[in-house]
């Protein structure tokens, strides 16, 4: 009887332990799989990203992309290189995906992972794209990809639609970062 009770208690204990450990494990597993984390933003979130904190002013590069956009995928390795070369020189770079929200934990982070992309990544989820597009640039019609460069004060100093020209973009960034000519080309 005593043995039965002990076995029963052991069984209960082990089941409690395994059930409490399982979510932790799966959470960790999910976290490992979801690196880099892609954060969802709405129109207000987008506007906040484009606003600059005057106390922490850095030049900002913004790339709009989507997994379905072939030229976006094509130019991404160059953007990852630019991020790696210039982040240490003070350039902030954010990538904003316009994929469907259901891709935020799957196709979008998967592509970023494949690209070894480590820049902050967002997914723009808005019911109406027009205000978001015009909040970025009144002359932009929404064609993808599109890349925008802002100086320390938040002024847009360069914009490009379609495949980036890496040398041209680097030259523009060089004008903004610490008077240091482009290294690591």
């Amino acid at each position: 009887m005593m043995l039965q009770r002990s076995l029963f208690l052991l069984l209960i204990l082990s089941s409690v332990l395994s059930s409490s450990a399982a979510p932790v494990q799966s959470r960790q597993h999910r976290a490992a799989r979801s690196v880099p984390a892609v954060r969802e933003i709405d129109l207000e979130g987008l506007k906040k990203l484009l606003l600059r904190d005057p106390k922490n002013a850095h030049p900002l590069l913004v790339n709009f992309w989507a997994t379905w956009c072939e030229p976006c995928r094509e130019e991404f390795p160059d953007l990852v290189k630019i991020d790696k070369d210039y982040r240490k020189k003070g350039l902030n770079f954010i990538a904003i995906s316009i994929d469907d929200i259901q891709d935020i934990h799957s196709a979008v982070p998967k592509f970023l992972r494949e690209q070894h992309a480590t820049m902050p990544a967002y997914l723009l989820n808005v019911p109406d794209q027009e205000p978001a597009i015009k909040a970025v640039d009144s002359e932009w019609e929404g064609d993808m990809p599109a890349t925008f460069l802002y100086d320390q004060a938040g002024n847009m100093v360069y914009k490009h639609k379609g495949l980036i020209k890496p040398a041209e973009l680097r030259a523009e960034i060089d004008k903004l970062v610490s008077g240091n000519p482009a290294g690591g080309k």
Binding site: F64, A66, W68, C69, E70, P71, I98, D100, P127, D128, Q129, E130, I133, K134, E139, W140, E141, G142, D143, M144, P145, T147, D151, A153, N155, M156, V157, Y158, K159, H160, K161, G162, I164, K165, E168, L169, E172
Partner: protein
Amino acid sequence: MKKHYIAGLVLALLIATASVAFVHGVARAGDYPTAGAAIGQPIANFTLPDVNGNKHSLASLKGSKGTVLIFIAVQCPVSNAYNERMEKLAQDYKARGVNVIGINSNATESADDVKHHAAEHNLTFPILKDNNNKIADQLGAEHTPEAYLLDSGGKLVYRGRIDNARNAAMVQTSDLREAIDATIEGKPVTKTTAAAFGCSIKRAS
């Protein structure tokens, strides 16, 4: 002394504002064309071949009440998300005197590609092949799908998206349909432009 201080402050503010405006004004554009057809201006007649090589003029294809030109693509997922909606649009408005004409300006997609794609997706409206993206350049078309609505006199009355959502289940505003309805009724179009994300047109280099 106080007056001088205030005047100095105002001057500094003006200079700061002007310099910000100046920098905004000179945001250097890489490839960022903004020219194109203006709302209210007539669109000049043009002639383009269809997918079988037969030439058609805009004048020969236009509708009695209006004409919709839509820049479309074979491979663009956004354009493809609109295939059914574009076909339905063409069907719905044909009897009401508005004709839909597709234009493919992508250098990466041949007339044969366009022909097969149209057959596969049951697109029955005429689709023209804009070799060397001449018409895309003339109108300032940048992405697919992008619509241009001409009134019965051939003047541009709307340019931009078909509706607000790539996902048909999420449509809230049918901007193009609203513009067409107003045009048929002889009313001014209230929203003459509307942007949406799309695939950039692959121009001939």
